[in-house]
Amino acid sequence: MVNRILVGAHYGLKDWIIQRATAVVMALYTLLFLVVVGAVGPDSFEAWRAVFAHGFMKFATFLFLVSVFYHAWIGIRDIWMDYVKPDGLRLLLMIATATVLVGYAGWAFQILWRI
């Protein structure tokens, strides 16, 4: 069988914008985190716990982590697209990556909301 070159999936712009938007969210959260930790100065497990017990901090942290996972999805997928040539293996790696990242998001939610 002749292996024809197939291109023209007509997507990519959305991912490209989301990668930039999630980078902004991560940068803003990093600032927020530094300000909060600088102001509170938690020095014990209880103090750290108190920082994340606040509803806004929970929400902001979760938003940050979701941004990390989506950002990572696009980045890791790009690595598979760059270097992994067999289509079947690439699909498998993409599914595995997406599964792990969705799992991480659920896990992050569970950790944050049990505080």
């Binding site: 023209g8 999936a9 712009l13 991912d15 790009d78 697209m81 760059d82 270097y83």
Partner: protein, 237 residues
């Protein structure tokens, strides 16, 4: 006469004779009052050993034939000053393309990508009696784009093009794509953007700017790629 000996290490490969490519040490007498550019010295090397193969034509940075990897960086031999070169000067063919012989590479894949962006004006309107006019501002948009000589220095310095030369258009192709997108006389802007909105054709570019670093004409493919993305964003929101 300011003569001196220059040392070279040159990639040699003749598929009819050699099992594998090898690096050959070579030296040549250079007359600095006559020889300025690397191509002048290559001419002297070829006079000594006429089996040395490379492409050349105009010897003034217009035809783009003598692109090669010079001391690890792609460039045109005819525009490279010999006095700036560290010795031994290491000459290799452009990376990432199949070698035909010595410093000559097979550019088929590179030109396939160039042709894929339809490098010509598309205008279905009635033909004007004379030329299609542009204002000076409209013409200004093409500066920094139309000067590309398709030497392939940029695309063959781009890792994304190395890994996916069959799918990623590459910096030279994308610079030329934007040259027609930016042209106010062209009517196929939407089709051109549709064609490029693709994870491989355009979005393999991760903006590492090797292309800008090596372009012997001082052009900026990364900027052109950014402009294409900007137009896609403006179209989408």
């Amino acid at each position: 006469m300011a003569t001196s000996t220059m040392q070279f290490k040159i990639y040699r490969y003749d598929p009819d004779k050699d099992n594998a490519p090898y690096m050959q040490d070579a030296s040549v007498e250079v007359d600095f009052s006559l020889d300025r550019k690397l191509l002048d010295v290559l001419t002297r090397l070829k006079a000594k050993d006429d089996s040395l193969s490379y492409r050349r034509s105009c010897r003034e940075g217009i035809c783009g034939s003598d692109a090669m990897n010079i001391n690890g960086k792609n460039g045109l031999a005819c525009l490279t000053e010999i006095k700036d070169l560290k010795q031994p000067v290491v000459l290799r063919p452009l990376p990432g393309l199949p070698v035909i012989r010595d410093l000559i590479v097979d550019m088929t894949q590179f030109f396939k990508q160039y042709h894929s962006i339809k490098p010509y004006l598309i205008n279905e309107g009635p033909r004007p009696e004379r030329e299609r006019l542009q204002s000076p501002e409209e013409r200004e948009e093409l500066n920094g784009l139309y000067e590309c000589i398709l030497c392939a220095c940029c695309s063959t310095s781009c890792p994304s093009f190395w890994w996916n030369p069959d799918k990623f258009v590459g910096p030279a192709g994308l610079l030329n794509a934007y040259r027609f997108i930016a042209d106010t006389r062209d009517q196929a802007t939407n089709e051109r953007l549709d064609d490029l909105e693709d994870p491989y054709r355009l979005f393999r570019c991760h903006t590492i700017m090797n292309c800008v670093d090596v372009c012997p004409k001082g052009l900026n493919p990364t900027r052109a790629i950014g402009k294409i993305k900007e137009m896609m964003v403006r179209r989408a929101i």
